[in-house]
Amino acid sequence: MDNDRLRAMYQEMILEHNKSPRNFGPLEGHTHYGHGKNPLCGDDYEFYLEVKNDVIERVGFTGDGCAISKSSASMLTTMVKGKSIEDARKLSETFLEFILNEGPKESLGKLKIFEGVKQFPVRVKCATLSWRALEQALLKTKHIASTEA
């Protein structure tokens, strides 16, 4: 039973993103920046977005943490790329509602895979950390030097 719970959390796709995170690395010329940190377990990620005409054109992240937080960060970057700020925010809200409460998962696509984490209350923070950082990034525009404006 415990093995099942573990397998439900550590899904293949999660482990795969953990091993080979997408969009990993800092992003030159980013317009938005967010920082997510869990001082208790040491997870620490930075997110960089390049937003043009309200659309997230490019995205990158750096940092380190557990398999759940890293795969969550990686999948986040793949999910929000190409989305409008508005849509990215909505996705974040839906995901957090799904993980933290009993929110619906229909619109979440492959993020549903994090359902297994809900069985591990202390690990829920690992899954939400990067989304919190994204929300922060979407609030705080980082104005890049004028040539880029």
Binding site: N3, R5, L6, L40, C41, G42, G65, C66, A67, F120
Partner: protein, 403 residues
């Protein structure tokens, strides 16, 4: 591997099952379990005898006072302090260090130096940083070598007539290093520095004799040596404590109070403001009694066997051991190559194995080893070889799940 101390029977929590398995408790550096005798003493007091101390002429209060006095006496004997006046009850090691930083700190001036080591717990770093900010003192840090031992040469070089206080852990909670306390104290005394020892990890592992060490302060927490939370001890040399101003003030620590000024009670009460942690003091007294029933030489031998076995078996796995491999307590810190400590912790938990993962409140030490966190298995005399085996099995499972 014949001597099995077989002490689990004394500790109720160790006889519970956890997620379908026997609990394998390997987070003793964070907090130890409490023997039945401590639990029964506390429960008996609260159900039959609860009263306040120091001020009552009535029976319950007299008895509570006597029990707290007895506990102080046992602690004096346990540490071999010269007098009961040198035993101050605090809520834990952290408060003890803060007390010294605030109170002894008042005697320091700008430019005075405080020397700590790279091994320290945040509780033995941040209070000194804050003191330095308040009074313009300077914090110096003695480095360790790659194998996790203090670099004694560098330590010596950092000592000077400016050094007013040297504070270091007796045993590192993070990687288990046992510091050469006596030698360090001798060197510190040569330049006239006072010495504080953070003994949080030591009292449950080795026999401490403050007079033999000749330290000025020694601190430990009840919950890390088989007693309750909410209680700890600061030992201080009487003459030095006499010179220091009080830290917290209020009831029980005064002699006379007027609105113009107040005078303070004699040691140890000068440093014990407010209603003490009565049942916790009584529980700690019982924990000391339990420790007195143990043979620390035997315990050390036994724990070293556990340690050797653990290091040997972990060495066969794809893990990196962090810190020393000898002259250390039975605390093993490691990382599983390619797997984050947090994930290891979760999978071990599913097997009923309790280890600590994280920075262990020693961020600078983690940085020194270029890791953000480790897995720490910290043993106690009540652990046995089966616990080591369980840990190894658990780590194999980690590989199964996380590749």
């Amino acid at each position: 591997m014949t001597t099995m101390l077989n002490k689990k029977v004394d500790f109720p929590v160790l006889n519970t099952t956890m997620r379908g398995n026997d609990l394998v408790y390997l987070d003793n550096a964070a907090t130890t379990q409490k023997p039945k005798s401590v639990l029964e003493t506390m429960n008996h007091f609260l159900t039959k005898e609860n009263g306040t101390v120091n001020r009552g002429v009535y029976f319950l209060s007299q008895e509570a006072t006597k029990k707290c006095d007895d506990s102080r006496k046992s602690i004096q004997l346990f540490l071999n302090a010269a007098s009961e006046k040198e035993i101050i009850f605090v809520k834990g090691t952290t408060e003890a260090i803060n007390l010294v930083a605030y109170s002894y700190g008042e005697l320091l001036k700008a430019g005075d130096e405080i020397l700590i080591t790279e091994l320290e717990h945040h509780a033995n770093i941040v209070p000194w940083q804050q003191l330095c900010l308040r009074r313009g003192c300077i914090l110096k840090v003695a480095p360790i070598t790659d194998d996790g031992h203090l670099d004694l040469n560098e330590f010596k070089k950092l000592l000077s007539s400016k050094t007013k206080l040297v504070s270091f852990c007796h045993i590192s909670n993070s990687i288990g290093t046992i510091n050469p306390a006596k030698e360090m104290i001798k060197l510190a005394k040569e330049v006239g520095a006072k010495v504080m020892i953070d003994g949080a990890q030591a009292v449950s592992h080795l026999k401490v004799d403050v007079q033999d060490l000749d330290c000025d302060f020694y601190a430990f927490s009840g919950h890390k040596c088989f007693g309750p939370t909410g209680i700890g001890v600061l030992y201080g040399k009487e003459a030095l404590l006499e010179k220091m101003p009080p830290f917290m003030t209020g009831g029980d620590m005064i002699e006379t109070v007027s609105f113009q000024s107040s005078s303070f009670a004699e040691l140890p009460r000068k440093f014990e403001a407010g209603t003490p942690a009565i049942v916790e003091i009584i529980g700690l007294g019982e924990a000391i009694k339990y420790m007195n029933s143990l043979d620390f030489t035997e315990i050390q031998e036994y724990e070293q066997k556990l340690l050797n076995l653990a290091q040997e078996k972990l060495g066969e796995l794809d893990v990196r051991l962090i810190g020393p491999t000898h002259t250390k307590a039975a605390i093993v810190s490691f990382v599983v190559n390619g797997v984050h400590a947090h994930d290891v912790g979760t999978i071990l938990d599913m097997e009923g194995i309790a280890v600590r993962v994280g920075h262990h409140c020693t961020q600078p030490l983690m940085k020194r080893y270029k890791v953000s966190s480790t897995i720490r298995a910290s043993f106690c005399f009540y652990n046995n070889m089966d616990d080591v085996d369980a840990l190894v099995r658990g780590l194999k499972k980690v590989r199964e799940f996380l590749g």
